[in-house]
Symmetry: D2
Subunit: 278 residues, 4 copies
């Protein structure tokens, strides 16, 4: 029976690189994944491994190339890996390199703090026709305490939700943006992050969808090198606690933060005139 | 700027239903997600919520419809939810219902044990043109201790892996199969699961890819109502411990189980003559 | 400044041992922790490592001793490790060995399924005066749907909970029992587990405390070799969903399972006449 | 059969309080646990709930008292809760209140970022004789890249570890300090945290134990109101990658960060002259 699609690779490759040239040290802390798609049908149907580069070799390659290429922006290292694997493996039609970076804050010249859950991410998808480069972030927990409403929504016989003009809006943001192949150097990661946060903080929100769109629009407006941005915003609900049984009023002051269920809002905003498909 | 795509919904809706008719009780333990795609641009660009059914209402609807429809196979409940939401929401072009079921083993007429990580899953994607129905399982941890080799693979200057004719093969299986719209009643979930496990146990494996394919082929061969199956098999590596520094031999007896890095193997097998695309 | 206490060791030592003698294989899947307490003050205050066995050596020792000693009940392997470390390290006043076992179910002679979260556990604490041996289980998710009430409780001005004579009782059980040093061979692990589950299923429960005590009492009554048992039972609340806004009745049929907040109930039951302290 | 010990309470009470007085808002994000010990034997042995305050009432009480008492340092709120429960429940001999605080960083007057895993913690244990107050932090991920060695350790036939004078030292720090009942106002949480981090960064480390002790000693030396401090420092190993098979040298530059196994180092440092026991 035919294979409709297949892929294989190595995930969870943990790499810490120290730059210790003279003065203060620098720490680069990455988790890398390598993924091949291509002509691997003989491996599946006949157990023929002649064209299969072991995933263990992929791991070794990441470490070996880190020596020369893991420095500066992670997009560059991802491109170097993608180029290497495509050049050396004619069986692979497509190579995807994903990198997550944990960012360490300096507390002294050679000491660092890295407790954040937020990750910078990069994904390069290389093929015989070129490479697309995406950058992004995930697990960025943000919350706003004003200018957040939800009202005027559709109602049916199962609707019990009250309208509100003043609620907490909280989310764990994932954002992935695509760099325009025709543009110059990559837009600054810190710059795009700043655009997203500023829009989140300033927006007069009618819904998560409304704020998500404003954030995406701001990122594209501020950074001409981006062709599109995809935002995922789970709605981390904060519910007002009913204190009336205890003779107390709750004037939007005491909330319970809930994990489940949660709203899940996703959308991709594209630059006017660019192609919505890839 | 245009929206290239958008979706919203409620995830993590936890539902336990007791059937307590006379004799032994039955427990149905589900986690449901509802997701709409469609014409919601005014919500994004203008903050106009008139067409937006609150995700809180989606949750209420799941509980209300559970009273009549959550019984028997979970695919039926998913179809009932999808039909309801499409009928009541002309804004939604597409409604996706995902259900995960935790299965409880009976230990007495009214007592149960449910420690397994494995989940039965169903996903119905309904549109104005009809519905596609997928079933599956995830987090099924399986391991085989014979008939597993990996040799004859491609080598380059970064390859250090030794060939082996006798290794542990372990994975946490995710499998999703699509029911053929033209076929009769859904293939039995237990039956497909059994086909996958039997093929895994019996296969003389040259690689994870090789065994994955054999499992997919077996599922399609045994169950004519399936049109395709997608398998995801992370390779949970078990490495031989080197005991030679202690003057001991390790004859494929003592292993360390590692979490990272891990191989990640995925493929979709389709029925001969069926369409590889949907 | 003085050290009031100190300990060190290696945790998370993953060990899989295959027994492949002729017929069907057997898999033993353990996670081991080693912990020393003793005279290690020079290491702390002066950086003097002369008495410090590296935790890496502890790991190596677990693998090396597994060759001969990891077989049968895990308590035996823990005792062998504790004896070894005490004999070889006069600096250690106390050695604690903790083992968690993942149990794999056979699906064929050389294939296994191991998706359960439940773990069998053993803990040996050895000193110059002898060893105490504890056995147990954790993450055993159990639920009962009848004979569970909670009423007649204390009320104050913050009490809003309704009394109930019919609720779901669910917990993730942890149980640790201590073997009586004067008794013969260890009580069967499966036997104690069975006593706990039978008591849980059969008990007419007035509260989690009430059932916890009945389970502990049953284990001690059924197994004379146990001197005490400690039970931890988080109350995994299942709340009745209010369907009345939709014109529906909920006759103890539809529940939402919540993760937080949760009740947490713990107690130690001891055999009459034995010493409550160790 | 007698109860050797028992406790019950409510864990995972999630509370977010907004202070929105005029200018910039403030967010207090807490997870609270309440735990009673005392005379609850009738509940266990006879199912008599007359003395049992429901854990649901504990939760309600936390929300109600948050209105007036959740402000400023979390130790104050914990003391208010402990006092309340002891006063209202003569059955409780001991009440323990544990609070974990997620700290949100301001990104605008009414917007915040809270991605860190680090938690500030407080624990008050109140009894009829008074209360002890502990403060601390957990999940503080720190790493140093110089002045870290491990050599001169004990060797036996299972020792293969190489000595090193230059390794990465990384840990996820948990620290709990006890306030001296006779001292004045509580030592500043930020101050103790700073002492710990400064000592970690500056220490010339011969081992994790050595640095742990230096950190504890610094905290006690800098803050006279502390009577003791307990530190838990898992050794998050960073292993040098062997690049020699690829003809490359690794001059302490490329590391793999591992999760398991891990060293686990714990000790309590007390002030000279104070009582090591409580």
């Amino acid at each position: 029976m035919p294979l409709a699609s297949n892929s294989y690779g190595k995930s969870g490759i943990r790499l810490v690189k120290l730059a210790r040239l003279g003065g203060p040290h620098d720490v680069l802390d990455l988790t890398v994944a390598v993924r091949f798609e291509g002509d691997f049908e003989a491996a599946h149907s006949a157990g023929d491994n002649a064209g299969v580069l072991p995933t263990d070799t992929m791991k070794n390659t990441v470490y070996a190339l880190a020596k020369d290429h893991a420095a500066g922006e992670i997009e560059g290292f991802a491109l170097a890996l993608s180029d290497h694997f495509l050049r050396e493996n004619r069986e692979a039609a497509r190579v995807e390199i994903s990198i997550e970076e944990r960012r360490w804050n300096r507390i002294a010249d050679t000491a660092f703090e890295g407790s954040t859950d937020e990750r910078r991410i990069a994904r390069v998808t290389g093929s015989r026709d070129g490479a697309s480069v995406e950058s992004g972030l995930k697990n960025l927990l943000i919350l706003k305490t004003s200018q957040s409403a939800f009202s005027g929504f559709k109602r049916d016989r199962f609707t019990t939700l009250k309208e509100t003009s003043d609620r907490i809006l909280a989310t764990s943001l994932t954002a992935i943006w695509t760099h325009d192949a025709a543009a110059g150097p990559f837009a600054s990661w810190e710059g795009v992050r700043r655009s997203l946060l500023d829009a989140f903080a300033a927006h007069d929100s009618a819904s998560v969808q409304h704020t998500l769109y404003a954030m995406g629009e701001a990122a594209l407006a501020d950074h001409s090198g981006l062709s599109r941005i995809r935002l995922t915003m789970p709605n981390k609900h904060h519910l007002l606690v009913d204190l009336s049984p205890f003779g107390l009023e709750n004037e939007n002051e005491i909330f319970v933060a809930t994990e489940a269920p949660y709203g899940l809002i996703e959308a991709t905003v594209v630059r006017n005139g660019s192609q919505p498909g890839r």
